[in-house]
């Protein structure tokens, strides 16, 4: 085994049945250089304090469960290593801007409701039967949306977004990136339906272009870019509506 060291992990605890407001709790954690923050928390849960609650599953930055604030920045705990946080202490809190259900567990409901609201599925431009086989889509066409389809719904960008912090109704970076993912897919014809969400007050125009969302994204989705592209689309949409009686977008 690699050599071990010690680090202090401070966790902001909140147990609704016990505490009226969050309190800090400190743990001394022995770790090796290959251990993630998640593994540090697992050690606490397994051996020191079984009452600490947090979500995790895949351990490899793809399931999106283990987002939390680590030293005031949103991170996936499985992808953040204790060796990089020496000498400590490490301060861990639930993701910012989201209601805390307990300890490091935040509510995901709002995010999922927003996702459900943007029609996150192909609305076919041209219907096609299974017998006709797959739609043709060139690598270049795929590249136009693939990056936005890589969102793992970890919500780090929501914890980073100052606008979402002020207005929880703001559709927010992750969901707007997914909306753009479908709009940019060559198979899809649902852009007009989705542009109503983009154009709404809680849509792209709430974004104040801080760009922190893209900085914290663990999958390089670059939601800020998706939002920005939709501002352009939304502006075009507005302009065309002035010109044509029914409102036509390209």
């Amino acid at each position: 085994m690699p050599n071990s060291r010690h680090i202090e992990i401070q966790v902001l605890r909140y147990r609704p049945e016990q505490e009226s407001e969050p309190v800090w709790q400190s743990y001394d954690v022995e770790f090796t250089d290959d251990m993630s923050v998640l593994q540090g928390l697992q050690h606490i849960k397994d051996d020191l304090d079984g009452s600490l609650s947090f979500r995790w599953s895949c351990r490899m930055a793809i399931c999106g469960s283990c987002g939390m604030m680590i030293n005031d920045k949103p991170h996936l705990s499985c992808q953040t290593f204790l060796r990089d946080l020496m000498p400590g202490p490490v301060r861990i809190e639930a993701l910012a801007h989201l209601p805390i259900e307990r300890d490091l567990v935040v509510s995901v409901d709002g995010f999922v409701k927003k996702l459900e609201g943007i029609k996150p599925y192909i609305i076919p431009k041209e219907p096609r039967t299974l017998e006709q086989g797959e739609y043709l889509q060139t690598p270049a066409q795929l590249e136009r949306f693939e990056q936005y389809a890589s969102c793992i719904n970890c919500m780090l960008c929501y914890a980073a977004c100052p606008q979402f912090g002020l207005d929880p109704d703001f559709t927010g970076p992750g969901v707007l990136a997914l909306l753009h993912r479908y709009n940019a897919d060559s198979r899809d014809g649902g852009r007009d339906e989705r542009m109503q969400i983009v154009n709404a007050e809680e849509g792209v125009w709430s974004c104040t272009a801080v760009g922190y969302c893209s900085e914290v994204c663990p999958k390089h989705v670059d939601p800020a870019n998706a939002v920005n592209q939709n501002k352009v689309n939304s502006a075009k949409d507005y302009f065309l509506r002035l010109l044509t009686p029914k409102g036509v977008s390209q």
Binding site: K45, D46, S53, C58, V105, Y121
Partner: protein, 599 residues
């Protein structure tokens, strides 16, 4: 207790559960569907599948070839009629996923691309870079949002099945956020809870892969089939077990020992050639590759590392550009988790537990012996994997049999009425009392993590890549002792909201039951076949006595009873399982034999 009445309840919302839910909704939109998962659907472990999904696609490929690869890959323990159905439906399901928006990687002319995979004679694995499971899961989840008849119960933990009048009648679930119990009454229930890799120490699986559905069906009298067959994936990260996809080798990666030698050529997989050749060398099946690692380790030709002996997965010759395009996630995992740049250094790897070939006994319609109960995906044994699964058959399985399960469970629900409400409510209260007793037990001093570690270590020691009666017997005894000690588990957390320690305790109970089914099935199989390899006088396959499915039957506190059932052979009589140059010769012979058998 709050009651929700559904026509069909689905436990598990990974790839299989979501595909099943969509199939129910499409087959009859008036049926109400309860989709229950202990996590949000997009967290399900399908998300971690990397390499791809198999379906015959190219003109020079054939269903017969996919069938033969699968049956031989499974060492002839497959249900051949089910495999025939499976290979026939696979392509249609890939196209369906494409229509639903799955971002499949493409050829230059815009068609879905296919890649080579272990044990597959012709390239037929559809892929979305090296995040195929992730993209399939999100595509299915987002597509399921279209269906108003799907009512999701996200973050609801399944505590028990309700069985009354000889049929399944629903499930009891805990809403994790509040600790409240819900009765979800249903006419049919589909179990789609995934595998049980967490019974082993070093594994590729997420923390949620704890065999919940397997254990529940098993406790209610449905046998678990072929549980001794546990797949070790040959290329995993030392220490954590995280997966480096087989696609690394499909794209041309090499496996090297400490001398930089492609050792697989010493294990009947050669000749070693500079470019990948299907069903040879690094593209051999997973069981053979993991076994070869074990032998190299015995010979002292592996490389010592901080987490045990490793070999090298060498991708350097593929170049950074191809690695970034085809294996972007692997690239990042190696850099971030190991500090290894795979374009310039080989990746240290070792085998880790990856997949449970066996599961809840199901027929080709995904039906179990308990009326109204269906199962699909890794938790199920529908019979296509036999003694060793070929990579990229399991993602396809989710789709093909997810659809079947949905259609079948919908049909059953339409023919069936809800049962006796009062009895069902009373059974649900009993289930609640049992689940709550885990928290309120008087102090017994046992920690969950201690028992879990002892179980996982014992499974690795006794039921690893190679097995003997003595080691398996020792594991069986340890598991019996652990089950006894489990009654003394003590929790730090007595609260209701988000009491994950409580859920871990219930999961440990599921894991122990599944582990017992595995260990006893293994001990009883006195032969070597596929992933079940013995060193104690049973080194050969024994078709006379063991061309049979094991069936582990639950007996409460006692060890399971192991029975055997027949294997359905349609066109491929058991033959020699050979790869590399020998494999090509064997394929020729098998074809002649098949012709003779057909006559």
């Amino acid at each position: 207790m709050e009651i929700f009445r559904a026509d069909v309840a689905i436990v598990g919302a990974g790839g299989a559960g979501l595909r099943a839910a969509i199939a129910v909704a499409e087959s009859d939109p008036t049926l109400s569907i309860a989709l229950i998962s202990k996590v949000y659907p997009m967290r399900s472990h399908t998300v971690a599948a990397e390499g791809g999904a198999a379906a015959v696609t190219q003109a020079h490929d054939s269903l017969a070839a996919h069938f033969h690869d699968t049956v031989a890959g499974g060492d002839w323990l497959c249900e051949q009629d089910v495999v025939e159905f499976f290979v026939g439906q696979a392509h249609r399901e890939m196209v369906q996923m494409e229509h639903w928006g799955c971002p499949w990687s493409r050829t230059d002319d815009g068609h879905a691309n296919v890649r080579a995979f272990g044990g597959m004679k012709i390239e037929r694995t559809w892929f979305a870079a090296d995040k195929t499971g992730f993209h399939m899961l999100h595509t299915l989840f987002q597509t399921s949002i279209k269906a108003p008849s799907i009512r999701r119960f996200d973050e609801h933990f399944c505590a028990d099945l309700i069985v009354d009048e000889g049929r399944v009648q629903g499930v009891v679930a805990i809403e994790i956020a509040t600790g409240q119990f819900r009765l979800i009454q249903a006419k049919s229930v589909i179990i789609a809870t995934g595998g049980a890799g967490r019974v082993f120490r070093e594994n590729t699986n997420g923390g949620i892969v704890t065999g919940d559905g397997m254990a529940l069906a098993y406790r209610h009298g449905v046998p678990l089939r072929d549980m001794e067959f546990v797949q070790y994936h040959p290329t995993c990260m030392p220490g954590t077990g995280l997966l480096f996809t087989e696609a690394c080798r499909g794209e041309g990666g090499f496996l090297l020992n400490k001398d930089g030698y492609r050792y697989l050529q010493d294990y009947g997989l050669g000749p070693a050639e500079p470019t990948p050749r299907n069903k040879a060398m690094e593209l051999g099946p997973r069981d053979r590759l993991s076994q070869a690692y074990w032998h190299e380790k015995q010979k002292g030709r592996t490389i010592p590392g901080p987490h045990g002996e490793v070999v090298h997965l060498d991708l350097r010759h593929l170049g950074e550009k191809k690695l970034r395009e085809r294996l972007p996630q692997i690239y990042e995992l190696a850099v971030e988790y190991l500090g290894v740049d795979p374009a310039h250094e080989p990746i240290p790897v070792l085998p880790a537990v990856h997949y449970t070939m066996g599961g809840i006994t199901a027929n080709a319609k995904t039906e179990s012996s308990l009326p109204g109960l269906y199962s699909v995906g890794e938790c199920s044994s529908v019979g296509i994997h036999g003694a060793n699964r070929l990579g990229s058959n399991s993602l396809t399985e989710l789709l093909v049999f997810g659809k079947v399960a949905g259609v079948q469970a919908a049909d059953y629900a339409k023919r069936t009425a809800h049962g006796n409400d009062r009895t069902i409510a009373s059974l649900a209260k009993d289930a609640q009392r049992r689940a709550e007793s885990v928290v309120s037990r008087p102090s017994g001093g046992e920690r969950i993590a201690t028992l879990r570690r002892e179980m996982a270590k014992s499974m690795e020691d006794g039921c690893g890549i190679y097995r003997t009666a003595a080691t398996m017997q020792a594991t069986c005894e340890t598991l019996a002792e652990l089950k006894h000690r489990y009654r003394n588990v003590q929790l730090d957390d007595k609260s209701k909201a988000w009491n994950t320690e409580w859920l871990l305790a219930i999961e440990l109970g599921y894991l122990l039951d599944v582990a017992q089914a595995m260990a006893h099935s293994a001990l009883n199989r006195r032969e070597s076949r596929g992933s079940h390899q013995r060193l104690d006088g049973f080194e050969a396959r024994d078709d006379a006595n063991y061309l049979a499915h094991s069936l582990a039957c639950y007996r409460g506190a006692d060890a399971p009873r192991i029975e055997y059932g027949p294997v359905r052979i349609t066109s491929s009589p058991p033959g020699t399982r050979a790869y590399g140059a020998a494999g090509e010769e064997a394929d020729r012979k098998a074809k002649e034999q098949e012709v003779a058998y057909a006559k």
